[in-house]
Amino acid sequence: MSALKVLSSPHQHSQKSLSQLMLAVCLATSLGLLAQLYFFGIGVLIQIVLAISTALACEALVLKLRKRPLNTTLKDNSAVLSALLLALCIPPLAPWWVIVIGTFFAIVFVKQLYGGLGANIFNPAMAGYVLLLISFPVQMTSWLPPAELMPIQLSFIDQLSLVFTGSSSAGLSLEQVRSGIDGVTMATPLDTIKTDLSKGLTVSESLAQPIFTSFAGAGWQWVNLGYLIGGLYLIKARLINWHIPVAMLSSLGLCAVVGIMIDPDTSAGPILHLFSGATMLGAFFIATDPVSAATTNKGRLIYGAAIGILVYLIRTYGGYPDAVAFAVLLLNMAVPLIDFYTQPRVYGDTKDS
């Protein structure tokens, strides 16, 4: 009889794996992604492809430099997920180098230089996004109006050409494409409100703009709804815990309710807050990034709620129309503290802790 294999218990495993988990999260974005594709064109897909290939290339490069096994790490899909989330936040027709720089920064600096998967303090996608937003504010805010409001319909070739050369096949620049027939540049709903408020208009006046076709702005409301459904699936499949999204959405909603009660003229309502911008994507896919989020259940509630409050504050009083990225990064920094002080009561512990 040959030697027996000696292993540590347990000998059984749930057979869940990291790459499956990451892949499942990627797939859960599909509804929102489809909505984005529908409203903003194939440019979204171009950005995703660019992001994922850059991410894998960067990851492979750094792993080689760090002399780490390439195969298992590349297959864990974590870089793919980060790239995907970043790409979803980028204006679809932003120049190609924007997403490449963002992804490079996210993977090389934010993730790998901190020690790779599991060791990064900040959410790579959001750190990449903030870098881009600060460095290239024009490109990063050049969102197209939803297709239904677009004066010109852009073909796939046009979009490809805009991303890579900066002008469509007809020679129009992105700025020209974005402008309506009347020459006024369209923006996202949150942008619109912010701009209108600065112009002295009230929120209700702003809501009369064509971009607010139904409950929370053309296109964006459906995108958010898509992510909400995807997120609910994640919770159902136990891929994420409910704590962070619930805490974040309820605190954001609550802030919005309080805001509108105090000052209805300058406050966007809770529905607008919850269903515009990156709210749903942020709540279910970004803030829940396990590596950089709080890890105790109590801590997750605090973490999520704080993000919600920050999102509201920055959206309302800050210089940027949206704030998920900033809020998440700020709370990433607080995670070790939150985790330490929210340790659950150990089984049978008679002291409350």
Partner: protein, 870 residues
């Protein structure tokens, strides 16, 4: 609010934190009844098969034993015997690989069955109710029953609970996948189990007995429900299938809602839990008289042609059992003892079945894939959700990897029950349990190392102390030899020699100072005067008269001696005024006068003749160079002090010390102050040391003293040391203030020269003295005497002196034990002191007054000086 009991009776069950749902795979081995295997060729019986200590061997090699015959007897804490599982011959008793992950050899009895399987004589108790609880517990003990669920806790220990038991829980949960041994036992022996429970009912008298079985064992539930349907106090409770509900603490919560406190036992909440296997063993022990010699073991895994349960004799080689069920090992075969969640892989199949072996699992890789490559933790928290102890496995992993023991303990690593739920769910396939085991072992090792290090340190220090003591003793032996003639001589020529000797130490220090002839001459003169004074004082001690010619200061002092406390303010004010005067001479003279007056005051009753002497000396010093005068004054003062201290022998050394200090101070106040401070620090240090250490210290200081003869600075230092010593001595004396006064005296002198410095020094000294006072007085009077001799001898070669001093000290100690009055034991030192000791009490009072005055003077001097400057 419904009570827990009512809720239990209503059939409520509770949830526990965490838990996982692995595939149970139970039906594989429940298709056939429990089998009986033929006798193996040889049984290997480890002496220890449970938690606790080994039993004591009671058989020999070659002895024939009968089935059920005990092979060991209980010896020590938590010890249970083992028995021969069949009749046969003891082939050997030697260490054999044990059924443990490490297979470390353990002393085992190797038994060759004779095939007859003959029982020894059994004594069944069909009516156990007639037996006392003690008898029943003893029977359970002697039957060698230890917990059969896994841990192997001796059942007899559990059968004697320290708290009243409300709930007796019978654990038939069997939550580990694959294992069905308890399930089959319950199906086939429900009746016996219920009867076994009866025995425990008698022992515990519980309110309720709850038989808990997971709901994936409907047949076992049915069988037991049927067996106990008559009994209204026994509940068969089906609980949801969840791993690890069979864990003792988890099960208690599931069926009673109570959590066993951290670090506590189930009996703390009035619960006791027994495994059904244990219950069956108890049944056999009581009703059939049979000890624990066999158990049901699940043989499972798809490398076996048949999965089943079998009654295996303890000691049966695992290989024998596996072969019997068609074991065909594959490459990298694993054989797991226990279940897939908590079981351990065996390094060999040539190991015996023991009391805790409930399952032997031989899965194929297909059935149970090897774990994948470990990937980084993404802190997803799946492990925390699964943890039944509500720990944070992801944080524990982090700290285990960084070896942060403190954080691991903060996160309660010790509460981990190693159930494997975290590793089971981990998507990164991290062997978390393995990390925790290693970390736990590390922490244990670190704690052990710390204890060892402390012990080593203690040993080292004890050794150092011993060496020190031995050295000291050696020195003392040497010194005693040298010292003897000296002592004799001293006693013979007491009067003259004593005075000289007493002054010797002082003189030496002074001599060092005295670099020119003038000083030397002054010193000589001074010494003569002192000698004269002593004589006069001695003579005059019987009478008391007042003299008109007395100096003002002297008069004040004398008056004070009579009126005591009242006068102190007067004299101190005088002192103050004088210190402030620019004229050094005046100050010095005044100080001398004061000191002398003090002295006289202390020598109650003072005499006529002494007073002119004082005057004379005053005049002399005034006429002389101021420095000389200061010296003289200091000496006088010191003497006075000495007198004051007379009642307690310790003080003598002090005064001696003071004298030299004073001299030094008069010469170079600044240096002296510094030296004094140093000395004080040293003294403080010394004070802290244990009495035994002090001796060595003093020895050390001896040599210091000797060194003083060289140069003024050294002298000052030495003086300070001497003072320190004096202080030390003062500690032991009943009146602590003496040391204080000593400090203040030196301050006085310094004050004459540089009030501010002196004041500072004084306050420091006082503080020090106070500190010393706090120390417990011990019998160390001998110390003081020792120090005195040191001073005397200081003029000699330093080494010799040290030796001599040590001898003197030893003698003094001895003497101190014999006689209440220590003074008599110190002939070498007593000179004028002896004579002045006539009325110790009065002298002490006077001294105290002087001290107070000095203190006040110092303070005032300081403040005044400040004022002047301002």
């Amino acid at each position: 609010m419904e009570s827990i009991l009512e809720q239990i009776d209503r059939g409520i069950i509770w949830d526990t934190p965490g838990g996982v749902h692995p595939q149970t795979n139970k039906s594989l081995s429940t298709q056939t009844p429990i089998e009986r295997l033929p006798l193996p060729q040889e049984l290997v019986l480890p002496i220890k098969q449970h938690i606790g200590s080994n039993g004591k061997l009671i058989v020999e090699v070659g002895q024939h034993v009968l089935k059920g015959q005990p092979l060991t007897e209980a010896a020590g804490h938590w010890s249970v015997p083992i028995h021969a599982p069949t009749s046969g011959t003891v082939l050997d008793i030697k260490p054999m690989p044990s059924t443990h992950p490490s297979a470390l050899p353990e002393l085992s009895i190797i038994l060759e069955p004779d095939g007859a399987d003959t029982w020894c004589e059994l004594s069944p108790w069909p009516d156990f109710h007639a037996k006392s609880n003690e008898q029943i517990v003893d029977r359970i003990h002697q039957a060698g029953i230890s917990g059969m669920g896994g841990a192997g806790f001796p059942a007899y220990v559990k059968a004697q609970p320290t708290h009243p038991i409300e709930y007796l829980i019978i654990n038939g949960v069997e939550c580990e996948p694959f294992i069905t041994a308890d399930d089959m036992l319950m199906r086939e022996h429900a009746e016996q189990i219920i009867r076994g429970i009866e025995v425990l009912r008698k022992l515990y008298q519980p309110t309720r007995i709850i038989i808990a079985i997971e709901d994936d064992k409907p047949q076992a539930i049915a069988a037991l429900t049927k067996a106990c349907e008559e009994d209204h106090n026994t509940i068969v409770r089906a609980i949801p299938t969840k791993y690890p509900s069979g864990g003792e603490k988890q099960l208690i919560q599931v069926v009673t809602s109570m959590q066993v406190p951290r670090g506590g036992l189930p009996s703390d909440v009035g619960v006791v839990v027994h495994n059904v296997g244990t219950i069956f063993a108890i049944y056999q022990a009581i009703f059939e008289g049979k000890p624990l010699i066999e158990r049901v073991v699940t043989l499972a895994g798809d490398t076996l042609s048949k999965n089943t349960n079998a009654w295996l004799l303890l000691g049966t080689p695992i290989k024998f059992a596996l072969t019997h069920v068609g074991f065909v090992p594959e490459k990298w075969q694993r054989v797991i003892m226990g279940g897939p969640m908590m079981g351990f892989t065996l390094p060999s199949v040539r190991l015996p079945i023991i009391k805790t072996s409930n399952c032997v699992l031989a899965p194929s890789q297909n059935q149970m894939p090897f774990p994948g490559e470990e990937q980084p933790c993404i802190r997803c928290g799946a492990c925390a959700d699964a943890c039944p102890a509500t720990l944070l496995p992801q944080q524990l992993l982090w700290y285990a990897k960084s070896n942060d023991h403190q954080k691991l303990q903060d996160h309660k690593l010790s509460d981990c029950i190693e159930c494997g739920a975290c590793a089971f769910v981990c998507p990164s396939e991290i062997p978390l349990v393995e990390y925790y085991r290693v970390a736990k072992a590390d922490i244990k090792q670190a704690q052990q190392d710390k204890i060892d290090a402390e012990r080593a340190k203690e040993r080292f220090e004890a050794r150092n102390r011993r060496l020190e003591r031995e050295k000291e003793e050696r020195n003392q032996r040497h010194q005693r030899g040298r010292r003897q003639p000296n002592n004799n001589k001293a006693s013979e020529t007491k009067k003259t020699n004593d005075a000289v000797q007493a002054a010797l130490a002082r003189a030496k220090a002074k001599k060092a100072d005295a670099v020119n002839d003038n000083d030397m001459a002054a010193l000589r003169e001074e010494r003569k005067r002192q000698a004269k004074l002593y004589k006069e004082e001695k003579r005059a001690s019987a009478q008391e008269t007042s003299t008109k010619e007395d100096a003002v200061a002297a008069a004040v002092a004398r008056a004070k001696a009579k009126k005591q406390a009242n006068a102190s303010s007067v004299s101190s004010s005088t002192a103050n005024n004088e210190t402030e005067k620019e004229s050094q001479k005046d100050a010095v003279a005044a100080a001398i006068a004061r000191a002398k007056a003090k002295k006289i005051a202390k020598n109650t009753p003072p005499d006529e003749q002494s007073e002119p002497a004082i005057e004379r000396s005053d005049n002399t010093s005034k006429a002389d160079d101021p420095r000389k005068a200061a010296v003289a004054a200091a000496i006088a003062r010191a003497k006075a002090k000495k007198a004051a201290k007379e009642p307690t022998s310790d003080a003598q050394s002090e005064s001696a010390a003071e004298r030299s200090v004073d001299n030094a101070a008069a010469d170079d106040p600044r240096k002296a102050a510094v030296a004094a401070a140093i000395a004080r620090a040293k003294a403080k240090k010394a004070a802290k040391e244990a009495p035994s250490v002090e001796q060595s210290e003093s020895a050390a200081e001896n040599s210091d003293d000797n060194a003083t003869a060289d140069d003024p600075r050294k002298a000052a230092v030495a003086a300070a040391i001497a003072r320190a010593k004096a202080k030390k001595a003062a500690k032991e004396a009943p009146s602590v203030e003496q040391s204080e006064s000593a400090a203040e005296h030196s301050v006085d002198n310094a004050a004459a020269d540089d009030p501010r410095k002196a004041a500072v020094a004084a306050s420091i000294a006082r503080a020090k003295a106070k500190k010393a006072a706090k120390e417990a007085p011990s019998v160390e009077q001998s110390e003081s005497s020792a120090e005195i001799s040191e001073d005397n001898e200081a003029a000699d070669d330093p080494r010799k002196t040290a030796v001599a001093a040590a001898i003197a000290r030893a003698k003094a100690k001895k003497a101190a034990k014999e006689a209440p009055s220590v003074e008599q034991t110190e002939p070498t030192v007593e000179s004028s002191d002896d004579e002045m000791a006539e009325d110790p009490r009065k002298a002490a009072v006077a001294a105290a007054i002087a001290r107070a005055k000095a203190k006040k003077a110092a303070k005032e001097a300081q403040s005044k000086k400040h004022g002047d400057e301002n």
